[in-house]
Amino acid sequence: MRGVIDREQVLHVARLARLRLSEEEVERMASELSGILDHVDRIAELDLDEVEPTSHVVSLENVLRPDEPRPSWPREVVLEQAPDPEDGAFRVPSPQAE
């Protein structure tokens, strides 16, 4: 099943990513992703058992910040960008129906 991603997987992944896809997007996505994964799957042939994964190229450790308060942002500045501000807060549709 690797390398080929079907319609159902596309829909599942789209839900995980909170993306609504149109019918044609689903079809196109399935074939495009399959094509890309087919190329990517070449790394499956490599012998990597003894190889450590790299998640950082920098060799730093313990980069920390002193526990000193910095002024927070004026609420009006913060809410200026909000799509639906209300009572000094960010209003969102209720998750209940989710």
Binding site: L19, H39, I43, L46, L48, P53, T54
Partner: protein, 480 residues
Amino acid sequence: MDELLELTAVQAHRAMADGELSAAEYSDAWQEAAAGDGLNAYLWRAGDGGAEAIAVEQPSVAPIAVKDIFCTEGVPTTAGSRILEGYRPPYTATAVRRLLEAGAPILGKTNMDEFAMGSSNENSAFGPVLNPWDEGRVPGGSSGGSAAVVAGRLAPWAIGTDTGGSIRQPAALCGIVGLKPTYGAISRYGMIAFASSLDQCGPLTRDVGDAALLLSILQGRDGCDSTSVGLEEAPRLPDRENLDGLRFAVPSDIRGDAMEPGVREVFEATLGRIEELGGAVAETPLPHAEHGISAYYVLAPAEASSNLSRYDGVRYGMRAGGNGDLLEMYESTRAEGFGAEVKRRIMLGTYALSSGYYEAYYGRAQRVRTKIAEDFANAFSEFDFVVTPTSPSTAFALGEKTDDPLAMYMNDFFTVPMSLAGIPAISIPAGLAEPAGGGPRLPVGFQIAAPAFAEQRLLDAAHALERAIAFTAKPGEGNG
């Protein structure tokens, strides 16, 4: 007037310091030039106003074009995406702050592939950027706007970001210099994240000297970025004139049909120049480099899928589907806010991280990344530099590759390995070549990579080579 625009940033800097050039007059000349943008390269220009928070009182350095991926307080910052249309950040990126503190006014914010995902600038929600050498062709991407304004004389210099080649490739396709510094040399704070473990800010300039000056302003450790290191010392202006005793490695496995004939010719010729300058050229294997694309197109989308999840219509930016429930709001906002390529990579990355596939994709890609870094380490034990063409082809026609994602991804073939290894690499214009399928000759870039934090050596060598190549061609001047 025009001769003002011909000065390099270094020359202008000296002239202003010596009082031979009025900073105001110089800035005005550039604002006027920027106003004449016919390439769709700028998304915002100082002339459009709203820049109070990022104003510079005493300009002392050439004004600069900034990729629209850097947050600038009060000034629209979109990362080329609908989802951030109209967003005005409440803060300014560290890299931009360093420019302001150095006395460099912001000339404008440049167009780019949406969230830096692309190699042609055709993925911008605000339309493609045109290549000043041939307006029917792409400038490369994702920092296409920054490359086009420098090549098109709409800005003296610019900054961009490079995740898998997004500075070097457009610099090559537009015939200018592009430098991707060592990962960690410049703060990422305020630089809108695409793939956090790969993203790096860097200069797009007319020559290597300007790149050195700009890097010296931008680099440095930043308390706001845990992964920033800075350089041991700020780079000096390069003055090296030969390449005596320096050893250049050509990856043996890339001498296939990976590139256009014209690109190959220029590449071979440049290797010849290196030898004329006293440098030694030999082949060395980089066995895992060819898997760079595979590893990159797992790791970068995986990180991106997470980095772009914050665009959810709750706190800022676009919101759609407000009448339904939360899920409907999320899905409508992201469906309408993101373009096709961004959706494609979010899907790819989400899939690669999803349960059952993590080890097969993300885990393996991280291990390939380790092998690629080892390959470079081995090469650098014998050589000072690794060289390749920057891009397999010259600038291609608008729309030529938009229907074939994989073909588009292959543009990054030569630039991705250095990004995965986190090492510095520079692209300098090496000559002109006839594009596959004919047409007027176009710039070809030559890429030089060095060990981590060896920026000074890299700039010195690139400068020497640049002098010898003496690339003087300009867009619009009969390059046929």
